[in-house]
Symmetry: C2
Subunit: 255 residues, 2 copies
């Protein structure tokens, strides 16, 4: 089972769009996929056609109160993958989890009970480096960083790298960036080309060869609660995420 | 003194770009302006040509340890406004502030000592609804919500509205959205027009008549550490933020 975390504390770089469309694309290749939404905004949840979990056991019960993660799983029969939806309580996770022992390992421990049920577990993170992203990083076997080729996002990558090194030295983990994915890519813009060249210089091994173009269909799809593959299967953005699934399979499954 | 908070928990909607360019535009009209960066990403800090505060007293000392905010102020002589820079400690603010009494009022209390020194205090918030954004909301006299006209951002607005109502009922405050600003606006995209029409329907009074177009010059400016006004004074994006300053003056100064 590959636990693929999609993280970047910089906001609006395409984390949710990547998590939802990668889940749908990997499921289309007959792999068993679970998408976990640990962002209180619940965008990956609504982007997959579901509502935030309100009544039954939620991911917050799993992280803070030891509930079994299997109780929180919904099936997205239309799209071929399962979903652990977000919930409102996640907003106060940083404060609520200060009293939980081994707080940053709760997700890693919970996922053990899913070993063998899925080929991929994909986790969509909030735009921060708090306890929820820390849980995802410690549970990850692979880490994908979506990134707009713009200045603030480049700065964010430098501080994310530093934060990962801090986590590794404090916890003894060996979390590494597996892939950097260029999103909303506009080759006509000089800024995009310049930042992309910097990425090729400093992260040649991690940089995905697949590049996700800016494509309005990817921004339209969530309003119908569908991944791109089910909204407009031939759109440039949809095709790019299918290509990314191919790259993920060839890069991550051989290890 | 008008304390103008720029907030939205949705990531990448143009909060920092709005805070920095509005600060420069209001300063250009000879008003005394202080820009406060409470996002650990420190984008407003670098976008104004400064580094994160590392050695001397920082905004975290003000919020968690009662230091005087005047000690943290830098002067951006080139751009005509002052800056309270971000710092690395802000990352753990949610956890560190759990033990501070009246934690969510620390910024409001600190700003009292600046009454009379500035016409505007502009606060750039992180993409979350944690203790830092809560401090800014409680300190605010006016609240501006930058917003991309896309689906996830629209969902974010609904949950931000709900979060503000929750804060008001828990604290007895009367925080209201003063202005909603459409950013990265592309009139050719059907999605942009549709979301914009929803905004006009549900928030007719708050919606700014100034609209910020998508303009690559605004994304290029931060790599030279300058607001748009000092990077490309005639660019469409720069002109739009000058117009916004005019609208802010006429909307907020008459109250
Ligand atoms: N390749 C693309 N082309 C066009 N629009 C895109 C693309 N990828 C994402 N978007 C749109 O850009 C906005 C930001 O993307 P998204 O919400 O996926 O980013 P995020 O990193 O998850 O944001 P947050 O930090 O708030 O979680 C959304 O409105 C989304 O629909
Ligand atoms: N009007 C615009 N036209 C083109 N690019 C823009 C515009 N406004 C902002 N940008 C760019 O879009 C990206 C997101 O903007 P910005 O960082 O200001 O958003 P934010 O809401 O502050 O993000 P975060 O949630 O991470 O704090 C940045 O790279 C910025 O340079
Ligand atoms: Mg997201
Ligand atoms: Mg910002």
């Amino acid at each position: 089972m590959i636990t693929l975390v999609v993280a970047n504390q910089k906001g609006g770089v395409g984390k949710t769009t990547t998590a939802v469309n990668l889940a749908a694309s990997l499921a289309a290749t007959k792999r068993k996929v679970l998408l976990i939404d640990i962002d209180s905004q619940a965008n990956a949840t609504t982007g997959s056609g579901h509502e935030k979990a309100e009544d039954k056991l939620t991911i917050m019960d799993v992280l803070a109160r030891g509930a079994c993660i299997k109780e929180t799983i919904l099936t997205c029969t239309d799209f071929g993958f399962d979903l652990v939806p977000s919930c409102q309580d996640l907003i106060s996770a940083d404060i609520e989890m200060t009293t939980v022992p081994a707080a940053s390992l709760q997700l890693k421990n919970a996922l053990r009970s899913l070993e063998g049920s899925y080929d991929y577990v994909i986790i969509d993170c909030p735009p921060s480096l708090g306890i929820l992203t820390l849980n995802a990083l410690r549970a990850s076997s692979k880490l994908i960083i979506p990134m707009q080729c713009e200045y603030y996002a480049m700065e964010g990558l430098v501080s994310l790298n530093k934060a990962i090194n801090d986590i590794n030295s404090k916890t003894g983990e060996n979390i590494q960036i597996s892939a950097i994915l260029r999103t909303m890519f506009d080759p006509r813009a000089r800024l995009t080309r310049e930042v992309s060249e910097e990425l090729q210089k400093y992260f040649p091994n991690e940089l995905c060869s697949t590049v996700i173009p800016r494509n309005i269909k990817l921004a339209e799809a969530p309003s119908s609660g569908k991944p791109g593959l089910f909204y407009d299967p031939t759109a440039k953005g949809t095709v790019a995420y299918l290509a990314l699934a191919g790259e993920v399979i060839s890069k991550f499954e051989k290890d």
